[in-house]
């Protein structure tokens, strides 16, 4: 015990602790600087050895010498009544406190200060990040992908043409995830994500983004809610801060919810109630599906928009905006390394959640045609005709997409030539295919001239569609459609926005961003016979839904 108290009196313990702390700091700072200026890796080991050898020397020194007002003296020569070891001990305490604070700052700096060297030195040794590198032919090799521990998936395509960056965040939440009572909630959330967090008041998200030169938008589909930011490179870290904040700290303020209901109503009036196309589309879509949630309008039924509750909103956010339910794409003037580092920093701390429930409902087979009529004040009737088709990954989806191009893809397409130019039975004809997670629809829509014979036009359309099943399409038509789709593919990826959209959609619908580059090969595999077989399977009268929008006829109620 005597030895112990003498060691303590002579501050040997404190010196030991101080030495250890100081060594650690010197090792971090000097070692980091050496690496940063390009010194070899053994320089760090050298410093470590010097520190280690110095340790016993310092201990012996502390035991043998004492700091006095007259200078350094051997302990044995000091008059113990005049000893200042206690004061020295206090100075050592203060020194330890300073080193402890420095050490703590170094650790905090790892999170707050991106320029601090520490993480860059330690990470390659302790945690080598595993970035996925494209392995398919034709995929640009500079693309990288990475998944954070919390499940957030990130894909980066560097492109330094312009000093700008595009971010897309795909949230797996859309009309498909809704049910009666909460229809339209995914779309409403798209609005609420801009309306304030625990750190930022309503409007600050947009204000901060625009102040650093960024712009944003978002859209909701039947499968996904997608957030988009377009910004100069200089705004990169601000964007991460803003995006991380709204994913982690979203505030769902009841008064903001009420005002935002008004905004969504205004959007509904604009796109559907005062737009004949939108009005008919909602009803045809709701009629073509009787079981699957694709039947719900993405904007929501009015009564649901009016009445969803705070609890609905909170639980929806918790489930669907968890990092394991997101896929982010960055394209433009960035490097994958910086994006992955910033992602760890700003998104890495957000907790994963139990994955959302699987959508179990599948649409039963339709066994006979369905029809509906909407009567409004209009001079020009609308005719919508739809059939059940496949999902994004269904093998018949690409052939059907090629066929749509042959039928309604522009001025030279079959149905445009026949209906608009030659027979003049329609003012316009167009179509699309839903390529979603679950089987969707192939949809044709026509605007008819005043006084049109709607039934006859419907008959002509069916005749043309059924004819494909019998006689197919020509090789020339197939080649033309292929060329259009390949040129459109190139046009699409000629901007950083198009690149982000292409990678993200390939990843979320096909499970692999590299799918974005398989179109040329996949197209060359599509044959005229295959298209004919798909037409025969899809264009079936019994799987058809027909919607007509027209004015009241004379004498009609």
């Amino acid at each position: 015990m005597a030895l112990f108290s003498e060691l303590r009196r002579r501050n040997v313990f404190k010196v030991a602790l101080l030495y250890a702390l100081a060594s650690l700091i010197v090792f971090w700072v000097v070692g980091g600087t050496l690496l940063a200026i390009g010194a070899p890796a053994w320089a760090n080991e050298f410093i470590f050895m010097v520190m280690l050898i110095g340790y016993p020397v310092a201990m012996i020194f502390a035991w043998s010498y004492e700091i006095t007002p007259d200078g350094l003296k051997k302990s044995l020569d000091v008059d113990q009544t005049q000893s200042v070891v206690f004061k020295t001990g206090q100075k050592l305490n203060a020194a330890m406190a300073v080193f402890a604070v420095l050490g703590a700052l170094a650790l905090v700096g790892e999170r707050l200060m991106p320029t601090f060297e520490l993480p860059k030195i330690i990470e390659p040794i302790l945690l080598p990040p595993v970035y996925e590198i494209p392995d398919k032919d034709g995929v640009p090799e500079e693309i990288r992908a990475y998944t954070l521990d919390n499940g957030l998936r990130i894909i980066v395509w560097p492109d330094h043409d312009i000093p700008n960056v595009v971010m897309y965040n795909f949230v797996r939440a859309g009309g498909r995830n809704e049910y009666p009572g909460i229809t339209g909630l995914s779309h409403f959330f798209e609005h609420m994500m801009f309306n304030g967090t625990e750190r930022r008041a309503q409007g600050e998200f947009d204000g901060s983004m625009e102040a650093v030169g960024g712009a944003n938008n978002a859209y909701t589909s039947k499968d996904f809610t997608v957030y988009q930011d377009w910004f100069p490179r200089s705004a990169l870290e601000t964007i991460f801060d803003l995006e991380g904040d709204r994913l982690e700290n979203l505030a769902i303020d009841p008064s903001v919810v009420e005002s935002e209901r008004g905004v969504v109503y205004s959007e509904r009036r604009l796109r559907y109630d005062n737009d004949n196309f939108g009005r008919l589309y909602l009803e045809v879509n709701a009629t073509a599906f009787i079981a699957h949630p694709y039947q719900f309008p993405v904007i929501g039924w009015s009564s649901d928009v009016e009445s969803w509750t705070q609890e609905d909103l909170e639980s929806y956010f918790r489930t669907y905006y968890a990092p394991n339910n997101l896929t982010m794409v960055f394209t433009g003037d960035v490097t994958p390394d910086e994006i992955f580092e910033l992602s760890e920093k700003y998104f890495g701390g957000i907790d994963a959640q139990t994955p959302p429930q699987v959508i179990r409902t599948t649409e039963p087979e339709q066994l006979g045609e369905r029809r509906l009529l909407v009567k409004v004040d209009t001079q020009t009737p609308l005719l919508h005709v739809t059939f059940h088709a496949g999902s994004a990954t269904d093998p018949m989806t690409l052939p059907l997409s090629v066929l749509l191009n042959v039928l309604v893809g522009g001025e030279s397409s079959r149905l445009h030539r026949a209906f608009v130019e030659e027979e003049q039975i329609a003012l316009s004809i167009d179509g699309f295919q839903m390529e979603g997670i679950d089987p969707g629809l192939v949809y044709f829509y026509l605007t008819l001239p005043p006084g049109a014979d709607i039934a006859a036009t419907e008959g002509r359309l069916l005749e043309e569609l059924l004819r494909i099943a019998e006689t197919g399409i020509t090789e020339a038509e197939l080649n033309k459609a292929r060329n259009i789709m390949i040129a459109d593919f190139w046009r699409g990826i000629s901007t950083i926005n198009g690149k982000a959209s292409a990678l993200g959609n390939a990843e979320v619908f096909h499970g692999d961003y590299q799918h974005a580059f398989s179109l040329p090969d996949d197209l060359s595999a599509v044959s005229a016979e295959q298209i004919q077989a798909v037409a025969a399977a899809v264009f079936d009268r019994n799987k058809m839904t027909v919607g007509v929008l027209r004015a009241r006829e004379e004498g009609e109620q």
Binding site: E210, E258, S412, E421, T495
Partner: protein
């Protein structure tokens, strides 16, 4: 470190094209004036295997005769219906067969042809564009079908999406018989008066080599492209008539209201504005900064008041159209029928607040960052570059219009912006209101804003 060799090569190529620092610097382009007056502008960039072309024929809908609005627009549509040896169907087929795009659009002061083709089809593209301009079929059957379809599409828009007709009503009411009041696409009644003979005369009088600018950008070699274009356009005739000179339109000096009745409409669309400024306006940078703050982005004053704070509307904006002579400045938005005056009053209060000053350094810095931050995205593709070069040439501007933009934004001050706001945005007693909605429900509500001129949406013309 992570920039791979392929990217580095790309970077080297791009250093010779668009440059970005405190703004955008246009790449050097070859400019050639042919003996017949046609101007060629050529710029190579080999980023993707595509070529973008923009051809501008100066003169457009502003030159339409007063009872034949839509003449230039019908001409633009008819240009796409066959040329050279190709019928309408063959021409469309030729474009699509190689995955090309070739569109014609018309504005008040120009007819614009935009083409996008794969690099391997460069000479085919030149053939199609020159056929379209030099030997269009202008077939009379195609003409009458197009005219009928254009009339019916206006009827369809009235039923389906009346918002898209608002600018036709607004310009007609603001500019009256000045050419800037012409509905670019025509009206149901004016289109019906246009004959095939009018189209043939338009082509001879208003279209020719002295009015043509052809700008090409993308993946090609300049000497070969220059030769192809010179061969194609070098012998073309000039237009028979000189380019029309316009007078400046008169501003409205008192407030007035144009009410377009759509019975049963559940929402009211509105425009509020007056005559603004010409393209040559010296305070361009100040005006862009001010309009961004007022109604040009999501956090603008108008969106904040009409959407974010009040939930009255899904969107709101303020837009300036800047042409050879002063165009319009319009606030526009829409709201539920019952909140028509509430929304109009919010818009007016916001306009007053703009005039009262209060734009501080922070708002201006934010606006400048926003405008500059988004500016480079307009110079990303071959088609965009070709468009910028053609448009500078057509408007008698040089590259400093783009290269010097960053500097002029930087030198704008609180005071210079306040002066521009005063000069450009109308005061509270000189506002033109254009309101489309259910008249029986909004007529009394809008009466206090000024004397009302009312028409029905089904009326076949846009002018009062």
């Amino acid at each position: 470190m992570s920039i791979r060799s392929s990217t580095s090569c790309l970077l080297l190529v791009l250093l010779t094209s668009v440059a970005f620092g405190d703004g955008v610097t246009l790449p050097a382009a070859e400019r050639v004036v042919l003996a017949n007056g046609t101007v060629l502008i050529l710029n190579e960039s080999h980023d993707v295997p595509l070529i973008g072309l923009r051809a501008i024929v100066r003169g457009g809908a502003a030159a339409d005769p007063i009872d034949k609005h839509g003449l230039a627009a019908l001409f633009a549509d008819l240009l796409q219906k066959g040329a050279g040896e190709r019928s309408s169907a063959d021409f469309a087929e030729a474009i699509a067969s190689v995955g090309g795009k070739l569109d014609v659009a018309v504005g008040l002061e120009s007819v614009n042809i935009s083409a996008s083709f794969m690099a391997k089809d460069a000479s085919f593209m030149v053939e199609l564009v020159s056929d379209m301009l030099l030997t269009p079929l202008l077939d009379s059957k195609e003409f009458s079908a197009l005219r009928d379809r254009s009339i019916n599409l206006i009827k369809a828009a009235k039923g389906s999406n009346p918002g898209q007709l608002m600018s036709s009503y607004a310009n007609a009411f603001l500019f009256g018989n000045h050419p800037y009041g012409n509905p670019v696409g025509g009206s149901e009644s004016s289109l019906a008066k246009i004959t095939h003979g009018d189209l043939i005369a338009y082509y001879a009088d208003m279209v020719g080599s002295d009015r043509l600018i052809v700008s090409v950008s993308g993946d090609f070699e300049i000497p070969a492209m220059q030769e192809a274009l010179t061969t194609a356009f070098g012998d073309w005739r000039p237009a028979a008539k000189p380019l029309q000179e316009l007078e400046a339109p008169l501003s409205a000096d008192s407030s007035r209201v144009f009410l377009i009745d759509k019975p049963g409409a559940t929402q009211t669309y509105f425009h509020i504005g007056n005559v603004g400024v010409a393209r040559s306006f010296s305070g361009r940078a100040e005006l862009d900064l001010a309009n961004t703050i007022f109604g040009g982005r999501f956090t603008s004053m108008l969106v904040t008041e009409l959407r974010t704070k009040s939930g009255l509307s899904y969107s709101a904006s303020s837009k300036l159209s800047r042409n050879a002579q002063p165009g319009s400045v319009f606030i526009s938005s829409f709201t539920e029928t019952s909140t028509t005056t509430a929304a109009l009053d919010v818009a007016l209060a916001t306009l007053n607040r703009l005039h009262d000053g209060g734009l501080d350094e922070a708002m201006i810095a934010s606006s400048r960052n926003y405008v500059m931050g988004q500016f480079p995205t307009r110079f990303e593709t071959a088609g965009q570059l070709a468009g910028h070069f053609a448009s500078l040439e057509a408007n008698g501007l040089d590259s400093s219009y783009i290269n010097g933009y960053g500097d002029s934004l930087s030198s704008a001050t609180v005071e210079s912006i306040a002066a521009v706001i005063d000069a450009v945005y109308p005061g509270p007693d000189e506002l033109v209101f254009v309101i489309l909605g259910d008249a029986k429900l909004v007529r009394e509500q809008v009466a206090p804003y000024g004397p009302i001129t009312e028409i029905s949406l089904s009326r076949p013309r846009f002018h009062p």
